[in-house]
């Protein structure tokens, strides 16, 4: 049973690990390969600050809320272990700020210590009259992706640096199941007009006195189009850009100005922060995550694809729940091929 994963961002690598962990024992013949033209630190995941936080509203995608919770609980369970630091995983507290009262989010009971901000806390943020405080998790992909890669390598999973041009190409090489974790470029393998870039730009700065994340919200301008400050283990990320339909991965001077001015207004101390780097990336935005099986014809037989892409700006937040769901789909494929039943006794 040969499984090919296309894509080595947080979705590809975690799905690979989840499937291998769950099925390698049941399917000793399981061979797994990862194909990607970009590996850490050049994936979209690497550009994310790494904060676990879903969007404010689930737009009726209750399934996604469950996957978010599964991811949080999974990560929280790893916090006390020695692996946490090697995974790039740690707790972080912080603020969500609004210009008017808003309903509590679907994830209020998933994070730790969720509460409203007190008037004195709001004094810190002129222009914002309402907000939340909670403790959540950071998962830094520049550390997490290599950790996943190590776990996979230890399990004998092979990695290939190559741009896959079609599913057929991978089937032709002998793959029985393809897991499609190609993020924003999924449309190159199979057209998907619902998948659009949500372009983001960030400035990485040195501001070691910032110990909280601060996410502001402007209901009018939409998610991530309002300044945010997210401190990490080595630098702090300043952001606040979300441009739907913009495919440019070039840094924009105008966006730099927007981010810098807005973040410095939010946190005056940032004026003294040293700028390290600028980065742009394309969030793989979709009305809902595409997580489903698809049976394709390959010559005279059928081949299976499991799609797992379109996680927008919440890939890290939802990744493990999706990996487990993809693993369940893989399990159903095995059932159909009757490969997960115990081996027949030798006669």
């Amino acid at each position: 049973m040969r499984v090919a994963i296309i894509g080595a961002g947080v979705i590809g690598l975690s799905t690979a690990l989840c499937i291998h962990e769950q099925y390698h024992g049941l399917v000793p013949s399981l061979e797994m390969e990862v194909y990607a033209d970009r590996y850490s630190p050049h994936t979209t995941s690497d550009g994310a600050a790494g904060l676990w936080q879903p969007y404010l509203s689930d737009h009726g995608n209750l399934q996604e809320t469950v996957w978010n919770k599964e991811t949080f609980d999974y990560l929280l369970g790893h916090l006390g272990s020695a692996a946490a630091k090697e995974m790039g995983l740690f707790l972080i507290s912080g603020y969500n700020l609004f210009t008017q009262p808003v309903p509590d989010p679907s994830w209020k009971n998933i994070v730790l210590g969720f509460r409203n901000l007190t008037p004195k806390e709001l004094e810190l943020f002129p222009g914002y009259s309402y907000g939340w405080f909670n403790t959540a998790l950071m998962l830094e992909c520049r550390t997490y992706l290599p950790w996943l890669t190590n776990r996979l390598t230890q399990r004998g999973v092979k990695f290939f640096h190559k741009k896959v041009e079609s599913f057929q190409e991978v089937f032709a090489q002998g793959a029985d199941v393809v897991i499609n974790c190609t993020g924003i470029r999924a449309g190159e393998l199979q057209p998907d007009p619902e998948l659009q870039p949500g372009r983001g730009q960030i400035i990485k700065v040195l501001a070691p006195w910032v110990k909280h994340f601060i996410i502001t919200h402007d209901i009018k301008s939409g998610i991530y189009n309002s300044p945010y400050v997210i401190p990490g283990s080595e630098f702090t990320v300043l952001g606040g850009i979300y441009q739907h339909g913009n495919w440019s991965e070039e840094n924009s001077a105008q966006d730099h100005k927007t981010i810098w001015e807005n973040c410095c207004r939010l946190l005056p101390a940032l004026q003294r922060a040293k700028i390290l780097q600028e980065w742009s990336g394309l969030r793989p935005a979709r009305p809902c995550v595409r997580l489903e099986r698809q049976t394709l014809r390959h010559g005279n037989s059928q081949a299976e694809v499991i799609h797992n892409y379109g996680h927008g700006g919440f890939g890290i937040t939802i990744h493990w729940g999706c990996a487990m769901a993809a693993a369940r789909l893989f399990g159903s494929i095995l059932q159909e091929k009757k490969l997960s039943s115990p081996p027949q006794p030798r006669l």
């Binding site: 946490a84 630091k85 740690f90 707790l91 507290s93 950071m138 070691p208």
Partner: protein, 341 residues
């Protein structure tokens, strides 16, 4: 009296902040700071600089609360300004956890820090050995940065700072009109105060930038305080121990205790060990005294003995000391104008 001359002895957080308050409230004063030790060699440099008050048994609670409130308000404004990084002041959130529920419901400072509340069950799961906890947000000073910033502010207001070992406050009587004694643990020898004693604290300063929340055991002995450039792991409270030499056995013990609160600290790098002697007293000595020899008088304002709570109340006690200095100067001016008659 033209330009009253005030000497502040001591250049830790108390000395420098007191000198600044005097310069602010008495612009006509000529203020000089004298000390044999400066940052990074003061007791203040070892401190984590967390704004969590220490309780002085001998001071009324409402006074301690006032000092803490003034200090918190002052630093809160700095943390919210462009100066925050230079002054080394920032907010930090975290938890104080108890193995047994504390006697009093709420500490006196719970309404001064931000967002104070009881920890949820889910939060307590992170601390299996602890039954109860408080969550809140407070301020932290990066002490060496703060002292440097205070010194810079002092020089900008014309305050002179000199290296000098003062062995007797009286030696200053001919050069200064008022002396302010901010010598911390040094007051033991300098003014022969038998009521002050060291409470030795050993701490580790480690590189663990993934630790963003503070964790403190309610017993006060084990704490993890993330700062700008390192995380302070503590600690010890050894009453009467004058040794400034780091103890390796203690280092291991502190590290183990902190790792049991926060296991990820096992990966901490670049561990440095520091020792400070908290200048401890039943109550802060914040009072006037007039030294008198052969008809010559030297007014002294004492401001020392802040123990484990120096950073938490420094601005409040500095303001009170400056007020007392003002009283001394007024008295001197009163008596000098009487002398003219």
């Amino acid at each position: 009296m033209a330009a009253p001359k005030v000497a502040v002895v001591g250049a830790g957080v108390i000395g420098l902040s007191t000198a600044l308050c005097i310069a602010e409230t008495c612009p006509s004063c000529s203020v000089t700071v004298l000390s044999d030790q400066f940052s990074p060699n003061t007791t203040s440099d070892v401190a984590a600089g967390m704004l969590i008050p220490h309780i002085y048994p001998g001071t009324p609670i409402h006074v301690q609360k006032q000092w803490f409130k003034e200090t918190f308000t002052y630093l809160f404004a700095i943390s919210n300004s462009a100066e925050a990084s230079e002054a080394g002041i920032h907010l930090v959130s975290g938890w104080q956890v108890f193995k047994n529920s504390p006697k009093e419901e709420l500490p006196f400072w719970s309404d001064i820090v931000l967002g104070f509340r009881v920890m949820s069950k889910a939060e307590l799961q992170k601390f299996p050995q602890h039954q109860f906890g408080h969550a809140f947000t407070t301020l932290k000073c990066n002490c060496p940065s703060y002292l440097l910033w205070l010194a810079k502010r002092l020089k900008a207001t014309g305050v002179q700072i000199y290296t000098r070992k003062v062995t007797d406050l009286w030696e200053l009587h001919s050069e200064y009109n008022v002396v302010v004694n901010c010598t911390g643990i040094g007051a033991c020898q300098l003014v022969g105060d038998e009521k002050i004693f060291p409470v030795r604290g050993q701490v580790l300063k480690v590189h663990a930038p993934w630790v963003t929340n503070f964790i403190r055991d309610g017993d006060g002995l084990t704490y993890i305080y993330p700062g700008m450039h390192n995380v302070t792991l503590g600690g010890t409270r050894e009453k009467g121990n004058w040794s400034l030499a780091p103890d390796p056995g203690t280092t291991e013990d502190i590290f183990d205790r902190c790792c049991s609160l926060e296991p990820s600290l096992r990966g901490a790098q670049d561990i440095k060990v520091k020792v400070g002697l908290r200048p401890s007293r039943q109550h802060v000595r914040l009072q006037k005294e007039v030294l008198s020899r052969g008809g010559i008088k030297l007014p002294v304002v004492h401001n020392y003995g802040h123990g484990a709570g120096g950073f938490s109340v420094h601005r409040g006690t500095a303001k009170e000391a400056a007020r007392l200095v003002g009283e001394c100067i007024a008295a001197l001016q009163g008596s000098s104008s009487r002398a003219k008659l």
